[in-house]
């Protein structure tokens, strides 16, 4: 199935269609997608690094799968995420503000959450709006909750979304990796380092 639909930063509208229903398909192993177009993983790495370096508030949202030390693999990923965050922080200029905001669990925290310190999948737009986040990466979030968040973000914000998914990837992200490992996250950090100084900061 071919489609002219592109998964672009929003706000698309209140209830954006799921990208899968618009014909966007998931990448095969070794691939990724950018705006719904299948590309090589390296191409996506470069694009993700550029997004981080050109954003005013590049942000990583680690989810429960990496925030909690379930096993050695999770702890290793947490270490890699911290390294990626520190790398982004060192690589951006003083007008940019890198953030690392956790999604500790998926409980619908009503009546409110504190958007400065956490993100909740049931109203992720609150954290995006509050911190003026314009590029973010989800990592360690269970797929169904990531899909929910990514759609809400695309519907109501202009944030560029990246998914570092440990499974098959996310159509609803503007850029999605699949089969995430600690090594893959570190490779992305290497790309950020490599492109440091070559990407224009936001105007």
């Amino acid at each position: 199935m071919t489609t002219s639909y592109k998964v672009m930063p929003g706000p698309e509208h209140f209830l954006p269609p799921s990208a899968a229903s618009m014909g966007i398909r998931l990448p095969d192993p070794g691939q990724a997608h950018i705006h719904g177009t299948i590309v090589s993983e390296e191409e996506a790495m470069e694009q993700a690094a550029r997004q981080f370096l050109s954003a005013k508030v590049p942000t990583i949202f680690p989810g429960p799968l990496v925030l909690w030390a379930w096993n050695d693999k999770a702890a290793k990923k947490a270490k890699a995420i911290r390294y990626l965050y520190e790398t982004i922080k060192e690589s951006v200029d003083s007008s940019q503000h890198a953030m690392l905001i956790p999604m500790p669990d998926y409980r619908p925290k009503y009546p409110k959450i504190n958007p400065e310190i956490e993100i909740n999948p049931n109203h992720p737009n609150l954290t995006i709006w509050h911190n003026k986040i314009d590029a973010c990466m989800f990592v360690g979030v269970h797929c169904h909750q990531a899909n929910l968040s990514l759609k809400i973000i695309r519907g109501g914000t202009n944030c560029y979304t990246i998914a570092m998914c440990a499974q098959a990837g996310h159509e609803d992200a503007m850029l999605s990796f699949r089969d995430a490992t600690a090594e893959k996250i570190l490779r992305l950090a290497d790309w950020v380092k490599k492109l440091k100084g070559s990407v224009a900061p936001p105007a």
Partner: protein
């Protein structure tokens, strides 16, 4: 899951919200002696809640969560009502069921947990309002008891449908006039504790939540008996202060007034013979543990 498994990744510990750090550092998971006296000393398993100011249900939640003997291996099943506003703030696994379905969900859950974890006690505790337990879900409530499903059912009895504006419920007292029941209830309050006993529950208590030590005792008894023997039922009076025309500060007094010997929430308890034997066994073990602790303390100070 043991407390040892509930660890935050070292590299991301500092970005976790304070309540999660507290839950790992100061909560009473894994502590067999946990109880209501931990409130104020340890991290509670309930964060801020969205109930009305002074709501007795919030007191009940705090006492129950402080008293669960095995919270890391407990799953609570809730239903539609004010309780469903609280469960998102509770640090115990919980499932929201369709209105009235809670005891059916809990039956399947308990059976599945028993198959999946044959060597580890997994407790299931249903917590629902009187509408879910006695009206809409009465079929599921009774059938679970008939089948001798091994879990605890707790009914927060506020004697009406509170969060939809005060409609009549089966547990409403006769003659009571509510905002949405203007002619007054025409029949008696359903006698569910008696029905529970006749339906096969091994431990049944009817009381208010005015006394935290009492709530700790009945919760522990109910969970232990359900784990080993069969269904247990607690009917706890948690008045809706808004719907009965009281102020925020008057919930506790309302409960005290309602638990007087001639009132409808005078303490009533039923314990089956096998349950009595189990409680005696548990009491003997506890006595032994205390004697041992005393001996150790004497040894340390000598």
């Amino acid at each position: 899951m043991s407390k040892e498994r509930i660890k935050i990744a070292e590299e991301l510990f500092d970005i976790m919200p304070a309540e999660y750090q507290d839950l790992v550092k100061r909560a009473t998971y894994g502590n067999e002696q946990r109880g209501w006296k931990d409130i104020g000393n340890a991290k509670e398993l309930i964060e801020e809640h969205s109930l009305c100011a002074g709501c007795p249900e919030s007191m009940a939640f705090r006492y129950i969560l402080a008293s669960l003997p095995n919270p890391e291996d407990t799953v609570m099943v809730g239903s539609t009502g004010c309780t469903s506003l609280v469960f998102p703030h509770v640090a115990v696994h919980n499932i929201h069921s369709l209105f009235g379905n809670q005891n059916a969900i809990a039956s399947g859950l308990k059976r599945a947990l028993t198959v999946r974890f044959p060597d580890r006690p997994k407790d299931v505790v249903v917590l629902a309002g009187d509408g879910a337990t006695v009206d809409i879900g009465l079929d599921m409530t009774l059938q679970a008891w008939f089948r001798q499903e091994k879990f605890t059912t707790i009914c927060f009895d506020n004697e009406l449908y509170a969060n939809t504006g005060g409609q009549e419920s089966g547990l409403m007292q006769k003659g009571f006039v509510a905002k949405m029941a203007p002619v007054g209830k025409t029949f008696e309050k359903v006698r569910l504790p008696e029905i529970a006993r006749e339906s096969g529950c091994h431990y049944v208590v009817n009381c208010t939540v005015s006394k935290p030590n009492l709530i700790e005792k009945v919760i522990k008894n109910a969970v232990h008996i359900a784990r080993e023997i069969g269904p247990t039922y607690l009917q706890l009076y948690t008045p809706c202060i808004l719907e009965i025309g009281k102020n925020s500060m008057e919930g506790l007094q309302e409960m005290r007034d309602s638990e007087k010997p001639t009132e409808r929430f005078a303490y009533k308890e039923y314990v089956s013979e096998p349950a009595k034997e189990l409680l005696a066994e548990l009491a003997a073990k506890e006595k032994e543990r205390k004697a041992e602790a005393k001996k150790q303390l004497a040894g340390q100070t000598a």
